[in-house]
Symmetry: C2
Subunit: 203 residues, 2 copies
Amino acid sequence: MAQEKQDAETKIKEAARRVFLAQGYEGAKMRQIAEEADVNLAMINYYFRSKEQLFNSIYAETFGQFIGQVMQLINEPTPLEVKIWKIVDRYTDFLIDNPLVPSFILSKQRVNGGEFLKDMDVRGQIEKSVFKKQLVEEAEKGNIRLTDPLQVITAILGCLVFPIMAQQVVSYVGGLDEAGFREFMESRKQFVPEMIMAYLKSG
Amino acid sequence: MAQEKQDAETKIKEAARRVFLAQGYEGAKMRQIAEEADVNLAMINYYFRSKEQLFNSIYAETFGQFIGQVMQLINEPTPLEVKIWKIVDRYTDFLIDNPLVPSFILSKQRVNGGEFLKDMDVRGQIEKSVFKKQLVEEAEKGNIRLTDPLQVITAILGCLVFPIMAQQVVSYVGGLDEAGFREFMESRKQFVPEMIMAYLKSG
DNA sequence: GTCTATATCGTGATAGAC
DNA sequence: GTCTATCACGATATAGAC
């Protein structure tokens, strides 16, 4: 019951987000967005000048949320092992709720993804992140092995993002229905942290 | 110097493969394929009846190669640990040479990917694969912990496929140029097997 | 701000000569 | 088999009334 009567701009953005996420830039049609927003086609060009600008607006927002999510998790002031479990847990939930986000972000990535990254200073953020510091400090203390933080982060993200993007394949191979796939992702919340910690504590 | 003068059908297929891989189904234009194949636009419709049939032809071929690659690696009659190192090594090389294949395969996946999987009996192949047998047998012998093979395979694939798909992001965050990224993937050939083995031998 | 009507162009596909 | 010319359609975008 929040706001039955949204303004046109909001309705357009929400519809555009749905359509772009599902169909991609080329696959998305302005007509479909207009229809789903329950708005005239001309209205979209009134609020946003073009399809491309509409897309960029959606993309920047989605990308920002995504990166913000990762940054926040990485910088939480909890001990390393607890944090890894928490990152995986929260991030998995996010992906289950937003399964189309990864492919959406990666789709335009090779076109102009670099700009967004620079604008948000993603590199600096990660460079000075609590997570990276912890990996170095714990290694110096001899609690874990010394590793490239980028390898670790990429492993965590890949282990969670990939099955989401390849849900159909994973489900088919494992003979899983929709509930079965969710179970698979749930048990991944345990598998992935255990794997990461096993590696860090080995060698 | 193999075949300077290819027949039109082959030239079209090769051009279509390049364009579809780079642009996706919607983004690819028949005119561009024709130009890159150095062939008239009408020729494409002569050999393949429509854009969709051309795409399906390319997709089936690419998907088949990809799955074949995985199947072959998984079924090699080498001991488990050696095999894991080998799978990662070969598969990484394949991805470096074909970085666009994963997103291409996953792009149409939610549309009709299921059919291809059934046609190739991917599920049966994996079910009776040497790799799965080995995971079970080694666990029974007490050499490794008991795990869901699907979790392990998904981890390996995710750890390798994700950085390839997200090359721009990874490179940016790590401050890597193209050579640096290749190095990153090379060192991943060691990181990933060590991580998997550390997990299997732990617990 | 919101609508209808329309301009303009790019697309996949085909007809038909050679 | 290969070409040129063209159709038919759907796309984005805009003009202009209200």
